[in-house]
Amino acid sequence: MNRILACLARNQLLISLTVLALALLFPLVFPSQYSIRMATLCGMYIVLALSLNLITGYTGQVSLGHAAFFGIGAYTAAILATRFGLNFLFTFIAAAIVAGLAAFLLGLPTLKLKGHYLAMVTLGFCEIVRLVEMNWMGLTRGPLGILNIPPPSLWGFTIDAPIEYYYFIVALVVLTIKLVQNIVDSRVGKGLIAISEDEIAAEAMGINILRYKVMVFVISAALAGFAGAFYAQYMSYIDPTSFGTDQSISIFIMIIFGGLASIPGTIIGVIVLTLLPEVLRGLMDFRLIIYGLILIAMMLVKPEGLLGNINFTRIKKAADGKKAGELK
């Protein structure tokens, strides 16, 4: 087992490229609209889950309100696109900025809260945002939702066909992975992980905890806002029911299921949990019971998640170290 992991760790680049190639070839192998659609949604959830992983997985701050930022992004993009016909550069960036700003305003006073208090605050925030979306008829059309959101277009080129959306989200996923990976691998990332391990010790190491938490919360929310913009323009219809606490919780489940603080884990977790209900569709009414049982079983067998506790970078270093030792 360990040897397999070491082997995997050593060939990270090769594996990443293979996965990417597979992703690019996917629509050619499974050309049905349905499979492309599922794959596109998977991609979107990967972006969402990776962004939540930044704050919850790496920094250890449980947020049960991620759907709020997803929703803020979606509404920002939808409103700008439908009312002002702005192109997607604007809608996407505005979505990220507005979501990030909301995270800043929420995070600054509340990120000093610990554990479940923060979980509750974020959950409550998600509920408040949803109610605003539901009640501010003039801006959001309330429960009626926003219809006919135009597809993303730029300089005359419009992303319209399912396959174009698919490649668009693949690009977003790659960017997100790179972003998260780079942050985590840096000094800043180490600081975040230190915070999740022991706040007092982290502070004693000179880390400005609140600043770091707010910063990563904002990045995480901005990414979610980005995903929201994609969602709005891809679905062409949004309403407040897509951004409730149940959505927040399902994103949360995805990252735990895949393994906290693990990028490949998150990706696999999202894919498994998105496809599972589809695979179980044949079981009809029983499928959600089965789904629940699978969650329970998974936590019994691998409570740390699919790839939790497996740090490929560390394994690689250890393996390299050993090899160097053998040479000596």
């Binding site: 022991d198 010790a201 502070e203 004693a204 190491m205 910063m215 170290g321």
Partner: protein, 254 residues
């Protein structure tokens, strides 16, 4: 000569309990000072005040001429103080090496921008930081274990890792809270030697310890606490014979 650290009339209350009571003393550059006193005398509390974990109820903590009382811990670390904890507080799931790298936080500069775009500056800095971290780990004899998770180290090694991590922030003043706890006499002897080396490297050290052999051998000056009060201060030979200290702390035969 100007003191590096000046504690001025510091008092710390917890509800009705006075954990530190109107304490004043000074520490000069490149000294090794020991803090001793019975359990619950207020030694760790003093460390917590100096490092910003508590804001003292009264009094000043002068460091480099400025009053740092009430500053946040990260600001204090930034300005050149570092500590270890009596109840070990490592980043348990991070590797030994990563623990030290986090310790270097204040001495590295790469920001979010560098991180996201993996700038040259970041890569260069990362390389240097790793080399430095490995240097510290060699100092405390943990280089071999650099890739194992901190939590898997035995107790004594964890203490050493804490010291290495504290050193990584390149402090001028190092505060060690019972560094020898959990070490046997042989290991304690090694630790003494190591602390001596630190002095040679120019560090100033304030340490709490109940191991009298260590304290009496390496400290140039000793400060004695009892019930939150500073009851004596001076060179080891003097302190050893001080009746107040013998009664409150050392016991007759020591």
């Amino acid at each position: 000569m100007k003191p590096l650290l000046g504690i001025e009339r510091v008092t710390q209350r917890f509800g009705g309990l006075v954990a530190v009571s109107n304490v004043s003393f000074q520490i000069f550059e490149n000294e090794i000072i020991g803090v001793i006193g019975p359990n619950g005398a207020g030694k760790t509390t003093l460390f917590n005040i100096i490092t910003g974990i508590y804001k003292p109820t009264e009094g000043k903590v002068m460091y480099d001429e400025g009053n740092i009382a009430g500053f946040r811990p990260h600001e204090i670390t930034q300005s050149g103080l570092a500590r270890t904890f009596q109840n070990i507080r490592l980043f348990q799931n991070m590797t030994v090496l990563e623990n030290v790298l986090v310790g270097m936080h204040t001495r590295t500069k790469a920001n979010l921008f560098d991180a996201v775009f993996r700038t040259g500056r970041l890569k260069k800095e990362q390389l240097e930081a790793t080399q430095k971290a490995e240097y510290y780990l060699r100092l405390v004899d943990l280089y071999e274990h650099r890739h194992s998770a901190a939590k898997n180290l035995p107790y004594g090694s964890q203490r050493k890792l804490e010291i290495a991590r504290a050193m990584a922030s390149e402090p001028r003043l190092l505060l060690l809270d019972e560094p020898a706890a959990g070490m046997n006499e042989q290991e304690t002897a090694e630790l003494m030697e190591f602390i001596g080396k630190l002095k040679a490297l120019g560090y100033t050290i304030l340490l709490i310890e109940h191991d009298m052999k260590l304290v009496m051998n390496i400290c140039e000056r000793i400060i004695v606490f009892d019930h939150g009060c500073l009851i004596a201060q001076g060179e080891p030979e003097v302190i050893k014979k001080e009746p107040k200290v013998i009664e409150a702390y050392l016991g007759k035969e020591a």
